[in-house]
Subunit: 204 residues, 2 copies
DNA sequence: GGAAGGATCTAGCACTGCTAGCGACTAGAG
DNA sequence: CTCTAGTCGCTAGCAGTGCTAGATCCTTCC
């Protein structure tokens, strides 16, 4: 009976934890949806609490603060970006670099709020020193793989950082309406051409 | 005498307007200083009012709202960037493209708050359709001039946008601690090499 | 059934951007 | 020199923000 009590106790505790985990995810999803629908300015703790049908303090039993919620959305978004990049296989005649670039820019264009949380907002994800979320490493790894075929004698990591920076710059400046939309295609052509065709330095 | 009254009237009015203009500039300077010292989060209307030694409503007699103040700072910052780019002449053996890139990144690194107001914050400067501030046009013009010597057969405007996007991406990702500092030099070398050496497409 | 414990909510704090309305000071007319 | 207009800046306040202390209810166990 004590074992039975313990058994039920454990299983009830499991249910509790499961429900907690579900609510945790519910909050993240609600924040993402709200941000995608109305922008991050509309994501206030009150509106978020209302959307998940709990009071605000419940949010703080799951996350340390609003920043932590945004960070959780960002991590999840990174996973999605990594997934999109992984399945972005080049169609025939297209380079892998181009396929990756187009997938990246498409993501930034179609999910601006998500992209914002990941790379623009000052929500410092651990990134450098501490524990970098695996999702982010995956996403960067996909970019490395896309650059690898064209890097030639050039440093792969550095060139990937250049590639990523250029894509990020284009994504954010386009988002801010700072670049001419009619140059979108040409701009990408020039970038890809510049990055891929340069490794013939050791010519006589 | 009526002419004398009018004369004094005008000159007093002039003094008033001059003092108003000075206070206008005082507010902009205070906002910039506060942002550079403690970041834009620290720039609240109350702290700003305290710094200029007026009450908050005075700010609103000069600017439509806080956004307008940030915008004014951004415009002034653009003028400064344009000035820096203009006088960034290449030392011997250095390309003009490199000189511009280094000046741009130096500005972003040393004046992060100013750079933020100009290109990161969502403070939508008119930019596309409406009246773009001359300062911004000047800054972009300097970039065009730096790209011009290397554009070859490629579209100058589009290539300049690529150049700018890459610099902007590097600037913001470095600022966020997302890129490896030890690759700083190599990264810039790769970018400049990629952008300048590619115009030998018409080879046999 | 009653006590212990945890989960959730109400109410509130200190702050934000922004504004209505009062009060003082200035400028001009008689 | 006095009195009136009008401008100018201030005090005080509103609605909203992120976040939290304390009360309250509800479950769980003996």
């Amino acid at each position: 009976m004590s074992s039975s009590a313990r058994f039920f106790g454990v299983t009830i505790q499991n249910r509790r934890e499961r429900e907690r985990a579900e609510r945790h995810q519910l909050i993240i999803d609600a924040a993402r949806e709200l941000a995608e629908a109305e922008g991050w300015d509309a994501v206030t703790t009150r509106r978020l609490a209302e959307k998940v049908e709990y009071s605000q303090p419940v949010l703080y039993s799951h996350f340390k603060g609003k920043d932590a919620i945004v960070r959780a959305v960002a991590v999840q978004g990174s996973g999605e970006l990594a997934r999109l990049l992984r399945k972005a296989r080049p169609s025939r005649g297209e380079s892998r670099l181009r396929a990756a670039a187009e997938a990246y820019l498409k993501f930034a264009r179609e999910r601006p709020a998500l992209y914002d949380a990941m790379f623009v907002q000052q929500v410092d994800l651990p990134w450098g020193t501490s524990e970098v979320p695996q999702e982010l490493l995956d996403a960067f790894g996909e970019l490395v793989a896309a650059v690898e075929p064209v890097h030639g004698e050039r440093d792969l990591d550095a060139l990937t950082e250049v590639f990523w920076s250029s894509l990020h710059g284009i994504a954010t400046l386009v988002q801010g309406g700072r670049l001419r939309p009619e140059l979108d295609d040409l701009r990408l052509d020039l970038l890809l051409g510049a990055l891929s065709l340069t490794q013939d330095e050791d010519r006589p």
